[in-house]
């Protein structure tokens, strides 16, 4: 099956693989590299990785379905990850998540990541982001926002365009 991986990305992946005594050990890193580039991991991406690492696709499907940070579906351009572990939950992260969802017209009750139809926003609950002392926290793409109030969340949404 054809899965076009740009030469630069493949070179990066080859370098990753070379770091490990066994190719297989690079699985998670290779998947991250592919996800960073393509946004999510398709069946073709897993099959490509299997060929690359002399594995069977099932070996990679096991990893991709095990780790919540691997995605098999595309996410929005702005990915909001709201922490729901204890400290944040006590500090109001569920209300925050509910607020964001209603604001964006998403169903707060549905499990898993929710994406707006225009593909701009994804809201998702995640587990502890290791910033419990500033709960509640969320991440917008790769940036951490601390002690987030609903008003600040609205502002974040406005700034994201």
């Amino acid at each position: 099956m054809h899965f076009p991986v740009p030469a630069a990305l493949e070179a990066e992946i080859d370098a990753l693989i070379a770091r490990y005594p066994q190719k297989r050990s690079a699985s998670v890193m290779v998947l991250h590299a592919l996800q960073d580039h393509f946004g999510h991991l398709t069946a073709e991406a897993m099959e490509w990785t299997a060929r690359k690492l002399d594995l069977q696709p099932i070996n990679l499907l096991e990893l991709v379905t095990f780790y919540p940070m691997f995605r098999r579906q595309p996410v929005g351009r702005f990915h909001l990850k709201v922490c729901r572990t204890l400290s944040c939950a006590l500090a109001g992260s569920h209300a925050l998540h509910h607020h964001l969802c209603t604001k964006l017209g998403l169903n707060p009750e549905a499990p898993g990541p929710q994406t707006t139809p225009d593909g701009r926003f994804t809201v998702e609950f995640v587990e502890c982001l290791a910033s419990c002392h500033t709960a509640p926290v969320l991440m917008l793409n790769d940036t951490l926002y601390e002690k987030v109030t609903p008003a600040q969340a609205d502002q974040l949404l406005r700034q994201s365009s």
């Binding site: 069946a43 069977q56 099932i58 499907l61 379905t65 095990f66």
Partner: protein
Amino acid sequence: MSTVPSPAPNSSPTPALGWTPPPRPTGAAAPAIPAPPAVDTLTVTVNGRPVTVPRLTPDWQGKPAPTTMLQACAAAGVSVPHYCYHHRLPVAGNCRMCLVEYGTPALGPDRQPLKNPDGSLVIQKSPRPAIACATPVTPGMAIDTDTPGVRAMREGVLEFLLINHPLDCPICDQAGECKLQEYSVEYGRAASRFVETKVHKPKQVDLGPRIMLDDERCILCTRCIRFTRDLVGDDALGIVHRGSYSTLAAYPGRAFDNNYTLNTVDLCPVGALTSKDFRFRMRVWFLKETKSLCTSCGTGCNVLIGSRENVLYRYTPRENDAVNRSWLCDFGRLNYKWIGRADRLRQVRVRGEPATWTRALAELAERLRAIPAGHAAILASARLANEELFLLRKLAQHLGAETDIVPRHGEGDRFLVHPDKNPNTTGARVLGLAAAPPGANLPRFAERLRAGQLTALLVFGEDPLKHGFDPETLQRAELLVVSDLLPNGAAELAHFVLPGCAHAEKRGTFTNAHGRVQRFFKALEPPGDARPETEWLGELWERLTGERASTSPERLFRQLAEEVPAFRGLTWAALGDTGQDLPDGPPPPER
């Protein structure tokens, strides 16, 4: 005190498939037997009783590995419930069913074991339990499998295994041979305390052409994954998702279809993996089990026939370390349906007319007496048993007949399947019924028939029309005798049609491609007139020669072992369940 067998020496390099075939006898000279090495043992106690075990025990690949608590318990006659552990698979240690409590000898300040006043060791109990399947024993270790703590752990493990289980035993094929059922009865709680909503998982997953998966029943022991990955070399299965959503799966779009998939049905301790061929056909507790052999290739895998009311429902593997260990190939396992075919030959016929055995055999003996020596040929089959071939050998000698068999070559593999597709080529060769190479006489038979030099052809279990004879040639025979199980072209031309028995309908022995002589037993009654070949061949012999002949396979085997040097020293009784090798091994291959 009891002991477990000492480890086998690890003689050859690790094969790719995780198993080293046992060494085969190579020549007539008996090898000098080296003195057995002193086995390094240690003593532990199991539930207070001392048991001495070797320090090392062969692991799943036959390599010496430290003896585990589970093996020590087995040596002490104490069974420890387990799911993920299987003696032929790598240890995974994931199900926790085998948890036991244990202690080790307490040491004094001088690092010497402390003793009680009565001289016994002071045991320091471990604060934590350990999984018996993966924990090596150490000298003086005290293992306890029957404490309130162990009982509570077993109960706990079972309770967790059942929280998302559908509890559908009444419609589950595994019921009756399900470890979850058995252990729940023996070690579990009587009632469920689970009031939450169960996680639902895929049901009726079409895993491959022969396997149906019910993920809700799976207890995630990974036996199936390890078998196909580590023994077959087909890394086809895995567990996807996480926690209580963990789901056994093949990669979407990839069928689990290697030639050994049905072994995972046997390995699966629960009803998650079921055989499409067997599911919903019969409750296992109704099945009568008969020790038999697979006849689909020269390996001669040991099987148990499961039958009820004269219907064969399944083959399951019967353990034999020297032949098939615990496995069967899918092809051989499913190649049983012909036995119950509705069009089996069931009528004795003489020139197309139904006849009784008495009349047919009397007439046949008369016709055979009239054939001048050298004018008959016997086309035997390497699907016949040693005892039947032995009688044919006597008949051939009496008639001065040439003999041969039909060779069947096909694909072999590195796991079980042998390229020889006959179950008893070796028997036919050592009994002198096969030409060298087997099949070499067939064209000559046809030629001699056409030339009028052969006037009688006796065919057993083969269709000459499929092996180079045309109907005109066969019709040249003044006497054409066909004994077979299924209708074929030659039977239609035959003067005598004598219906025979499938191996499942009689007793006997086959000699596999490696020279192992193995017994099989009768599970079913043959259809119609069909009778075991030894019976009517013996009767024919008597009519022909006036000499009494044995018709029981046991007695024939004794005669055969006396008269045929290749079988010398073997006895029916000593063959036991797993067979014995020909004293000189199989004859060298000839092609």
